[in-house]
């Protein structure tokens, strides 16, 4: 059964067990403000202004919000079938003719199955191929076949590739047009369906390659990406009730990494914590650790990340709690660290 190394919540055992929901479970909290299919709508908007943009998918249009684009621009949408090697080889071919393809599938298939095609056909010639990967990290309860817990670890070693891990609908809306005009290939960790809208409450705009300080704080600094920035902000509010003052730095671009901004925030007396929806191996934590060591900063960094394991199947709230991504688990970890 469970391969978790952490103790299960015994209180939960008494309650009725949660059920694994549909393939793509929403991680929005009940009553949270959301935006529907922000990627699909952003791509349509970008395509209205740039007739070079085309869309492709490998039999997952509806599951990656690419169907919005396909409906708006049927003549600019290419269904490649359940053939991911063809999907990304053809995307490279389209880019060779001067077009700007956005090609969507699940992150597991892009990273694990089609790597060679992305690496040699898109990245080596530095083509403007935009990979759109659904279900990044732990965003489905379907188990390891669909959970791309190591996608960033796989992709970070690919030269020329830009990697973006957006937090919410605002990030996605603002990232898509920037990805379309940026040189070379990109990988977007897609959030789809009803995606939470979080960053509109902060003085924030997405800038490719930049980390942003969302809030200041004297005791702890969170360095986070993806949906974990949402959790980081929630945890910061919860920790305020414990008289712990937490700063949150959102770094949606994992590569190239904005080491300058992050190091400036880390190189203080505050407890430094990284938060990511990804394995502790090869993702944000190791990106930050590498920047810290390279700069010669003698600083301990505490990771909040998925364990180096194949994860369980189950309901997403259960799994986020089990593997430490839930707000309560983050709060408990920080309080324990602060002693």
């Amino acid at each position: 059964m469970s391969t978790t190394t952490e103790a299960p919540d015994t209180a939960a055992a008494a309650k009725p067990k949660l059920k694994t929901s549909a393939m793509i479970a929403s991680f929005a909290d009940p009553g949270q403000k959301t935006s529907n299919a922000p990627f699909g709508h952003a791509l349509v908007k970008a395509a209205q202004e740039n007739d070079k943009i085309v869309g492709l998918t490998a039999d997952l249009g509806k599951y990656t919000d690419m169907h919005i684009f396909a409906q708006a621009f049927p003549e600019r949408f290419f269904q490649m079938g359940m053939a991911e090697q063809l999907l990304f080889g053809a995307a490279a071919g389209l880019a060779e003719t001067g077009l700007v393809p956005f090609a969507s599938t699940y992150s597991v298939f892009a990273a694990r199955r089609a790597y060679d095609f992305l690496c040699l056909d898109a990245a080596e010639p530095n083509l403007n191929v935009n990979i759109v990967g659904g279900l990044p990290g732990l965003t489905t309860g379907y188990g390891p076949s669909h959970q791309a817990t190591e996608d960033m670890a796989i992709f970070r070693g690919m030269p020329n590739l830009t990697i973006v891990d957006p937090c919410d609908s605002i990030d996605i809306e603002q990232a898509v047009p920037q990805l379309a005009v940026s040189e070379g290939p990109t990988y977007l960790r897609l959030l789809r369906g009803n995606v939470p809208t979080v960053l509109d409450e902060y003085d924030y705009t997405f800038e490719l390659g930049k980390a942003k300080v969302l809030r200041g704080g004297n005791d702890v600094v969170f360095i986070s990406s993806g949906l974990m920035t949402m959790r980081a902000l929630q945890a910061a509010k919860a920790l305020a009730a414990h008289n712990v003052d937490v700063a949150v730095v959102h770094t949606p671009t994992i590569k190239p990494f904005d080491a300058e901004t992050v190091l400036k925030e880390i190189n203080t007396d505050r407890l430094a914590v990284t938060l990511e929806n990804h394995s502790v191996v090869g993702g944000l934590f190791e990106t930050v650790a590498s920047a810290v060591v390279t700069a010669g900063v003698g600083k301990r960094v505490v990771p909040v990340a998925l364990p180096d394991q194949f994860l369980d199947a189950g309901a997403l709230p259960t799994l986020h709690d089990r593997y430490g991504l839930a707000v309560d688990r983050i709060v408990a970890k920080v309080l324990a660290e602060l002693g």
Binding site: V54, G81, A83, G93, L94, E96, T97, L120, E124
Partner: protein
């Protein structure tokens, strides 16, 4: 296997709007045979400089390369990136030695540059890469990629209203790769009549004969069942190649059936010393043998030309 004859080719225009050549005239035959001879000669010279190389494959594929570059492709030698050019995608990166020779024959790469093949800082690396060599459209070498990229190029050119055609050169070994068949299905599904694949069937792979490594036959029936306009010819018979390319051109269309020309070739073709040597993916040739190879090649070519 039966070869479609030139008589079967309908009269008309190619996708490029050129008048269709429907006769394999002695002039065309002579022109392409001479080009194939020079490509083989270049390949032997390059092999000698390196002391090694995929010479056997280059010799086997020389007639295919001479035909497509000398008779089919529309390009501007002085402007390799000319937008309206036909695209030639070398999927088999290790055939670069033959491709460089064809690029020299086409005037895209200077003949003098061929001697830099495989040397440090050369534009002509051992495995073909688009970022190094003018006229090299893709970086092949990881086999099974070329046809997937070709599908995207054909889609992209058609979407942008171009009448350029896309040619993908692949080997029978690449038929082992699942991605080749993903692309074969995709090309048929999207009705890429502007796409032509040419498969070098030399029946040899890295570990041995194709039928002992992974049986790919029946190859013709496979492509036919994937919906492609399929022809199989002797890939070392220039007349048969010209006729097959004419047939493919005659039915090329913006929207239509993709076309494949399956070419049975002989590793080392044109040089009896190598034709009769035990077949190997990477052929060893001794230092003193290069001159013998060139002499045999020239004797064979001149003998045939005078016959």
């Amino acid at each position: 296997m039966p070869t479609d004859t030139v008589q079967d080719a309908p009269q008309g225009q190619t996708l490029q709007g050129q008048a269709l050549q429907t006769a394999v005239t002695p002039e065309r035959l002579e022109k392409i045979s001479a080009a194939a001879y020079r490509i083989r000669h270049h390949a032997l010279n390059m092999g000698e400089v390196q002391g090694q190389g995929y010479v056997g494959q280059a010799l086997g594929a020389a007639d295919m390369l001479a035909t497509v570059y000398g008779d089919q492709l529309r390009f501007r030698a002085e402007d390799p990136h000319w937008e309206a050019r036909d695209r030639f995608l070398l999927s088999t990166g290790h055939y670069a030695i033959g491709h460089y020779a064809a690029l020299a024959e086409a005037g895209i790469v200077p003949v003098e540059e061929l001697e830099t093949y495989g040397s440090d800082d050369s534009r002509l690396p051992m495995s073909g890469m688009s970022t190094y060599t003018p006229g090299m459209e893709i970086s092949g070498g990881s086999l099974g990629h070329g046809l997937t990229i070709a599908v995207g190029m054909a889609l992209g050119l058609r979407y942008q209203g171009s009448s350029a055609r896309v040619f993908n050169f692949l080997s029978d070994g690449e038929l082992d790769e699942g991605s080749t068949w993903e692309a074969a299905m995709g090309a048929h599904h999207h009705q890429l009549g502007n796409l032509t694949a040419m498969v070098d069937i030399n029946a040899l792979q890295a570990d041995g004969k194709t039928d002992t490594v992974l049986r790919t036959e029946p190859v013709t029936e496979k492509w036919e069942s994937f919906g492609w306009y399929t022809q199989r010819v002797d890939g070392n018979d220039v007349g048969a190649l010209l006729a097959a390319f004419d047939n493919a051109a005659a039915q090329a269309a913006t929207v239509g059936r993709p076309s494949v020309i399956l070419c049975d070739t002989k590793v080392g073709r044109g040089v009896p010393l190598l034709e009769n040597r035990e077949k190997a993916h990477f052929m060893r040739i001794e230092e003193n043998e290069w001159q013998i190879c060139r002499e045999q090649l020239t004797a064979g070519y001149e003998g045939k030309a005078s016959a």
